[in-house]
């Protein structure tokens, strides 16, 4: 059955003719003062705009006379494939010829906001979830206008026409016209407010494994990332930042006391040395000169009065806090009452700080002169970044023109709630008043703070006579992702996403008595969400602990989970699918398996890791099998790629990832001491889709949290060793 889907009262579609032919459509999100907002009665159809309307700047679909369709994407392309999947959703309802569809990154404007994040923030696995209906509605409405135009042109009823591959077809009349031919006339039609959406059974583009629209350019090195962007007269700046990331927290920062100004200026190509709040800036003709200049600065830092913590000391504090009750986040049944005595099984899990380490280090190109500013950068949060730049420069937001470029990875780092990299670039530009590119080196990136928080988690349980957990307690010690930076109000926006207890307060298992409590630690280290956020540690701990309970009950880890998931049909289905695809219980000789599950963002996943541990070669990964139910896959191949990516990301963190602090200073600096999985260490990865239909769920982070636990469980199966602290390489040899 086709859905009749209404535009919300605060958004509508505007379509007009392009100069020289073609059609331009924009979706306008109305302000609160709009007379349509809150009114009763049927929503009026939207009349074609008059000449001179300014909305065209925010067009999001162009149909050119040659039948090419360009779809502007408001979400950031950080590798996850939005530049392909978002156009697919619109093109589906438009009945577009996919071979003629292209994409462009949208401007920074309210019209491109994702309703799930209330902004252009691309985060929380929310792009597809948030845009599935708006994009389809827009496509369906434009299609209806093209059909109306054709019906008028031919003097037939709209109902007698159909559309396919960017053509309106009149079967009875034996004629057809391309969208490009009809575009100008279509722009004169009224836009429907409640376009009919397709029955998913009729999808021709959604559900197809289309090639990425940005794939060929990326294979040719032709994509222009932020660090590749150039404007005439542009200088390059590197910043000497305080060695302790505490210095990035504004007040309380370490401050530069002395530095060798002359030595830096003596480097050929160095043009200026500036001091700004972010640190000491070397501005030069190019990167190499700026780097040589910065290497000669020799900044002496004045320590702030804030404590400079060490990882060892922090671990002791966190471990001690596990002994005292925290803030209760969830209580079910009797809570943790009765969880004492000899029958209680308990385990503590510890997790280090992690750096996002996207392959492209942070960078910002900024061109500022009095009264104007233009910024180009790869970011997940253009509208937030723009606001911060305007504040630093003392300008109106509307005076700052902000361009989002493709990001060479991000994983949350470019969705910085403090907008640190744009903030400091604006500080540089404010003084310099010349076009400049602020670049980060890899060392700047790894030592730069805004880490995935460290955490300790204690899980305790008591088993009933069946061996199943009668009571479970989860106690967490970590830094709040939002409290440290004064953004507590954000805590409610993302729900579980920004909640440090994700994976514990949404436990899928049927356990009658439950208590989740947490200590928020206010350590002076800037922290930030990283792909899968707090589920990254909570689900790891939880899935390892379930394995420990299964062992205590003398039951198979798969069967044990099945018993506890009888009320979770979708999760149960992926669990069975993963077990079946992985050949659970019958691995090749010498190999051992571990299993784990995770549900979030409206999606479900079960993952099996097959590994071996032996005296001579240490830990070896052989195979990872994932089974996924995300409802509807927009592009199944890109979905599978996302899971493959998440598997490698998670295994890299679990096996190797650790930022340690000494006296507040990060001890790692580059890929030699912050390693990640390489080709020879990467196992075979199989991903099975068992989608149950309906609304699409998010998948960008889905594959991260469970697979590391499945690995730890496989290591136990192989060696009998329970590793309860990450990274694993501290406890098992990895070559």
């Amino acid at each position: 059955m086709a859905a009749r889907d209404h535009w919300s009262r605060r958004e509508f579609l505007r379509v007009s003719a392009m100069a020289g032919g073609g059609l331009l459509a924009a979706c306008s999100f109305q302000q609160d003062s709009d007379p349509l907002a809150g009114g009763a009665g049927p929503e009026p159809e939207v009349p074609p705009p008059g000449p001179g309307d300014s909305w065209q700047a925010n067009a999001f679909v162009r149909i050119a006379p040659d039948n090419r369709i360009t779809i502007l994407v408001g979400s950031a392309e950080i590798g996850q494939g939005t530049s392909t999947a978002v156009p697919m959703m619109l093109a589906e309802e438009l009945d577009a010829d996919w071979s003629l569809v292209g994409w462009e990154q949208s401007p920074t404007a309210r019209d491109y906001a994702n309703p799930k994040t209330f902004s252009q923030l691309t985060a929380g696995s929310a792009t597809i979830v948030g845009l599935y209906r708006p994009q389809r509605r827009a496509g369906a409405a434009i299609r209806a206008m093209l059909v109306r135009a054709a019906a008028k042109r031919w003097g037939v009823s709209e109902d007698s026409l159909r559309t396919e591959a960017s053509r309106v077809i009149d079967d009875a009349g034996g004629r057809s016209a391309s969208y490009g031919e009809l575009a100008s006339e279509a722009a004169q039609q009224r836009a429907p407010t409640n376009p009919t959406l397709k029955n998913p059974a009729d999808f021709r583009i959604i559900g197809q494994a289309k090639r990425r629209l940005d794939g060929a350019d990326k294979a040719k090195g032709a994509t222009v990332f932020g660090s590749d962007f150039h404007i005439p007269g542009m200088l390059t700046a590197l910043i000497a930042r305080p060695p302790a990331p505490i210095g990035r927290l504004g007040s309380g920062a370490d401050t530069p006391e002395r530095w060798n100004h002359e030595a830096a200026l003596a480097v050929p190509g160095v043009e200026a040395v500036l001091a700004v709040d972010a640190g000491v800036v070397v501005v030069a003709q190019d990167f190499w000169a700026a780097k040589q200049g910065r290497d000669r600065l020799d900044v002496q830092w004045k320590r702030s009065s804030k404590p400079h913590i060490g990882s060892g000391e922090q671990r002791q504090r966190y471990t001690a806090k596990l002994d005292s009750p925290g803030l209760v986040l969830q209580r079910k049944g009797r809570g943790a009452q009765g969880l004492r005595g000899s029958g209680v099984i308990s385990a503590d899990y510890h997790f280090p700080y992690l750096a996002h380490a996207p392959m492209e280090p942070l960078n910002v190109v900024i061109d500022h002169a009095p009264g104007r500013c233009e910024i180009w950068t790869g970011t997940q949060w253009p509208d937030g970044d723009r606001g911060v730049a305007a504040r630093v420069l003392g300008m109106q937001t509307s005076q700052v023109k902000f361009h989002t470029l493709p990001s060479g990875g991000s994983f949350g780092r470019r969705a910085c709630s403090a907008h640190d990299f744009v903030d400091e670039a604006a500080q540089v530009a404010k003084v310099l008043q010349k076009p400049v590119k602020v670049l980060w080196t890899r060392e700047d990136d790894i030592r730069g703070g805004y880490y995935r928080p460290s955490a300790s988690c204690r899980l305790s349980a008591e088993l009933d006579t069946q061996g199943l957990p009668a009571s479970l307690s989860a106690r967490l010690v970590t830094q709040s992702l939002v409290g440290n930076i004064g953004l507590d109000e954000l805590a409610t926006l993302g729900g579980a996403e920004s909640n440090s207890a994700q994976g514990l307060t949404d436990l899928p298992y049927a356990i009658p008595n439950l208590l989740v409590d947490a200590h928020n630690s206010y350590d002076p280290v800037p922290v930030l969400w990283m792909r899968s956020v707090s589920a990254g540690f909570n689900v790891h701990a939880r899935e390892c602990f379930i394995d420990e309970l299964a062992q205590a009950a003398g039951q198979d880890p798969l069967q044990y989970r099945r018993r506890l998931l009888q009320a979770q049909p979708r999760l149960l289905a992926v669990l069975d699918a993963a077990a079946s695809a992985a050949g659970w219980g019958a691995p090749p000789a010498g190999h051992h398996q571990g299993i784990a599950v995770f549900s979030a963002y409206g999606s479900h996943i079960a993952q099996v890791v097959e590994a071996s541990v032996d005296e001579t070669s240490g830990l070896k990964l052989h195979r990872v099998v994932s089974a996924v139910d995300c409802g509807t896959a927009i592009n199944p191949d890109l979905l599978i790629a996302q899971i493959e990516s998440a598997v490698v990301f998670s295994l890299s963190s679990a096996m190797f990832g650790e930022i340690t602090l000494e006296d507040g200073v990060p001890q790692q600096s580059n890929f030699q001491d912050y390693p990640m999985l390489r080709m020879y260490q990467t196992p075979r990865i199989d991903t099975v889709l068992v989608n149950s239909g309906g609304e699409p769920g998010g998948v960008g982070e889905l594959g991260v949290p469970a697979v590391s636990a499945a690995l730890a469980n496989a290591i136990f199966a192989a060696s009998g060793q329970r590793i309860r602290e990450l990274p694993l390489r501290k406890h098992v040899r990895i070559e």
Partner: protein, 151 residues
């Protein structure tokens, strides 16, 4: 002032001898397909060919190149194998963020020139110097095998 032969043309570059080739390419010649990832030959994002061999441009002083021929990702599509590698990459949805892929393509093209039908072990040896934070290793491997099938 070194003269460097890049993608078939000589370039007189106004740069100090110790300036790495990477920054000559990116900043002096504005050939930005070759990427900076680590500056220490740890990640392979800056992989180019020097006389057909893969090399890390981020640690290669431009003054040491002499007469040697540098090929970058901008020109690798001019070779049959380079073209096929780029085509397989696009067809098999190998890139995600794509930032490391210039280096991956260059490393893969050098491997296939040397060994047209590489084993998994050959691929491990040739490609393990190239990091992909998006984790597309299994696709890179499959795409190399796909190209090999057509050779």
């Amino acid at each position: 002032m070194p003269t460097i032969r890049i993608n078939g043309a000589d370039h007189a570059v106004d740069a100090p001898q110790d300036k790495p080739l990477l920054w000559v390419l990116r900043d002096d010649l504005r050939l930005t397909g070759t990427k900076y990832g680590c500056g220490r030959a740890l990640c392979g994002a800056c992989t180019v060919h020097v006389d057909g061999q893969p090399a890390r441009a981020c640690v290669l002083p431009c003054g040491t190149l002499g007469e040697r021929e540098v090929t970058t990702v901008e020109a690798i599509g001019g070779s049959e194998i380079g073209r096929r590698v780029q085509q397989a990459w696009a067809e098999m949805n190998v890139p995600q963020c794509g930032y490391c892929q210039s280096g991956q393509v260059m490393a893969a093209a050098a491997l296939l020139e040397r060994i047209p039908h590489p084993t998994d072990r050959d691929i491990d040896q040739a490609m393990s110097g190239n990091l992909c934070r998006c984790g597309m290793y299994t696709r890179i491997r499959a795409a190399i095998h796909r190209v090999a099938e057509g050779l």
